[in-house]
């Protein structure tokens, strides 16, 4: 296998170069449309202070703690009913939108499916430039050609692409400054996440948990794209402790003896064990550590080929930022055969430990429907919340005919980031209720092709729904919950104005009272609002912005709009 991979890698360098030439790069740098509007340099100090920056939205999830809590309160629970569109920008690409708009001193950066970037005037929606990434011929991805946004630092904008490249663009013109290979798309690697930039490093993970990859997080030099370190999310010894219970103490019905026999026969499966990381890490600036979650093992539903706990799949992992060295981990589900993995980005909060003392904590919203609260020091679990969705028949093992279990394989909380209102001690999560049957089939590793080991099948006759749930992370109790008619994927934002914003597959974009979930405002965007909202201020006016482009995974109506809202 190694020999074949090397040969392919050499051949692919030649072929991809040819293919890139065949597709014209259509950069369209235009002169800055608004007088005096020039993209600004972003300093590390600005990135560090993002949580208190009312004018900007500098990180995919708001700030390094990933609270998605915007400090502006001009738009608040008392006046949000007057919110209305300020402008609408239509992108060229009408396909699934998951972008988190980034705003720097009046300039907004958004992305579309197929790894395109736009720079816009955040006050008017006018286009400043567009970057169309020339995708190579090989792109391998399971769940839509998504992109979740860019990172900004100094004079550059960073994009990770569907053909597994990391690209640095000139923030002023959109022209490419450098490009680095992150993985080989022919082996199942692809990029959909927004990078995270911190202290001169650009951090990216990888997709590919459905393709038998070996996952990683990599750090690149922000200046020139040189690889600084790689952390393999699957260690050479992935076996673990043969855990029989999940994080909540439920029996997972593993056949440990059969797994041990398989291990003796075929060895550690680490080379093709999956473990993608496709959401941003949280950064603890005080300790210089990062926290991220690792996705499912490959193949998703067939555990017979991958004996052991499959470390560090389905886990929270912490690393040292400087070196990429392992610090601690906590695995939610060992030897997962349901794809109920960990994808929603972790959030750093101060929370009470079991003795009531407030400590640095990190929380994660699981596909299982629980919010997990951990001690940041050693990743240990402090508590898990009441379930936010129905749980039935857990953990029944998948069968060839299909076994029904709730939640379905999308969750609970899918990749959607949560938001935290630190003043209330509450985290808000959006959830799916999608009854599914879990089917298992066994087949050998297919060399970078889709490798599910079975199927998750939505039960078409059962009702689906979604919800927004407010969870007190100091107690694990649900404060309030609002049911929505369709499963929710996308993201959520809370603000110092006491408002929570979230979109729905039916096109509704709504504002909720952070205290009680009362609906304060509603707007229909005409296509699925399945992206995380952002907020910012220009010229003394606060805006809320969100993409309405639909979603592949729940097949909501596609669109191509970026919509910014403001008060009268």
């Amino acid at each position: 296998m190694i020999a074949i991979r090397s040969a392919l890698a050499i051949a692919s360098a030649v072929a991809l170069a040819g293919a890139a030439a065949a597709q014209e790069v259509k950069q369209a740098p235009k002169a800055a449309a608004a007088p005096g509007l020039t993209p600004s340099n972003v300093t590390q100090q600005m990135l560090d202070g993002a949580a208190n920056d009312r004018n900007n939205f500098l990180h995919t999830n708001g700030d390094y703690t990933q609270k998605r809590f915007h400090p502006a309160n001009q738009i608040n629970a008392g006046n949000v009913r007057r919110l209305h569109p300020a402008w609408i920008f239509q992108t060229e690409v009408k396909e699934s939108m998951e972008t988190s708009p980034i705003v720097v001193n009046g300039v907004m950066y958004v992305t579309t499916s197929f790894s395109q970037v736009y720079a816009l005037n955040a006050a008017t929606g006018e286009q400043l430039w567009q970057y169309k990434h020339p995708l190579g011929p090989i792109t391998t991805y399971c769940c839509g050609p998504n992109n979740r946004g860019v990172a900004v630092y100094e004079d550059k904008v960073y994009l990770a692409t569907l053909d597994a490249k990391l690209v640095a663009l000139d923030a002023k013109t959109g022209s490419k400054v450098w490009q680095s290979d992150v993985g080989d798309p022919e082996l199942g690697y692809s990029e959909t996440m927004a990078p995270t930039v911190v202290k001169g490093k650009v951090l990216v993970g990888t997709n590919g948990g459905e393709y038998g990859i070996r996952g990683f997080v990599k750090a690149y030099d922000a200046k020139d794209g040189k690889l600084l370190w790689t952390f393999n999310t699957i260690p050479d010894n992935s076996v673990g402790v043969w855990a029989e219970k999940d994080a909540t103490g439920r029996d997972m019905h593993r056949n440990i003896q059969a797994e041990k026999d398989q291990l003796a026969k075929t060895g550690d499966p680490y080379k093709t064990l999956g473990g993608g990381v496709w959401q941003n890490p949280a950064v603890d600036l005080a300790t210089n550590r990062i926290y991220f979650v690792v996705g499912n093992p490959s193949p998703d539903l067939d555990g017979s080929l991958r004996p052991g706990d499959n470390l560090y799949t389905d886990s929270l992992v912490s690393l040292d930022l400087e070196t990429g060295r392992y610090v601690c981990h906590f695995q939610y589900i060992a030897h997962d055969v349901w794809d109920l993995d960990a994808v929603s980005p972790p959030v750093l909060v101060d929370a009470r430990d079991k003795t009531g003392k407030v400590i640095p904590a990190v929380i994660h919203g699981g596909k299982t429907g629980h919010v997990y609260v951990h001690d940041r020091k050693d990743c240990s679990l402090i508590r898990f919340s009441d379930p936010m969705v129905k749980q039935e028949n857990m953990w029944v093992l998948p069968t060839p005919e299909g076994a029904r279990m709730l939640p379905g394989a999308n969750g609970g909380v899918e990749w959607s980031p949560m938001t935290v209102n630190p003043q209330l001690g509450v985290t808000y999560a959006i959830n799916l209720h999608q009854p599914m049957t879990y089917h298992v089939q066994s087949s050998p590793y297919p060399n970078g092709k889709l490798w599910l080991g079975g199927a998750f099948k939505v039960i078409p006759t059962e009702e689906q729904s979604g919800n927004i749930t407010a969870v007190d992370y100091n107690t694990g109790k649900i404060r309030w919950q609002v049911k929505t008619p369709q499963p929710m994927i996308g993201g959520i934002l809370s603000t110092a104005g006491g408002v929570v914003f979230a979109g729905e597959a039916n096109g509704r974009f709504r504002a909720y009272d952070a205290n009680n979930g009362n609906v304060l405002w509603s707007f229909n965007a005409g296509a699925g609002v399945n992206a995380p909202p952002s907020s910012y201020m220009v010229g003394g006016k606060q805006y809320i912005v969100v993409a309405a482009g639909g979603n592949v995974q729940i097949d909501s109506k596609r669109g191509n709009n970026i919509i910014a809202f403001t008060l009268d």
Binding site: L301, H439, P446, N447, A455, P460
Partner: protein, 197 residues
Amino acid sequence: MTVSAALMGSLLGAVVLAGAALAEPVEERAQPCAACHGENSIPQQKTVPVIWGQGQGYLYLQLRDYKSGARKNDIMTPLAQTLERDDMLALALYFSQKRWPNLQQPPAPPDVAARATRANVAIGCTGCHQGQYQGEGTQPRLAGQTREYLQQSMLDFRNRTRGNNPGMTDLMLAISEDDIAACAEYLAGLRLEGSPR
């Protein structure tokens, strides 16, 4: 698929010669493909797929898999043996830039379309094949493909005759043969939004 031994022989000969002449333009190297896939975009038989306008990444992967043996076909397997990776990518690019034909297959009646849509809800076909089943990159376009080829391919995945994408085998096993028939009829009758094809 019934192609005479004589035709196969001549096809193989043509491609072997083509392989020998490295400087030969891709148009000439693609010429033998027309014997089955059609001189002008429309395949000679309904069980042969449309490759004009199909995605480059997908076409490349199929040629690669025929060569490696991951996908098997009496005609394509020997043909692919003569191709190197660059040849495959060049041929794939050539056909991907052609215009997808309109095979004049009728839209599926509402009950068939509803059944196909339910199957998509169940197993998420559009997650890879895109919202209009237009495909992209390594995911093939299904909209407007020949009904017979679509149905046969899905059944071949289901019964493991076609082994180069076990994920598809898993998904086809999760729906019934009747669902597959409905999907084939529905997909064959689809036109892309804003396109006559």
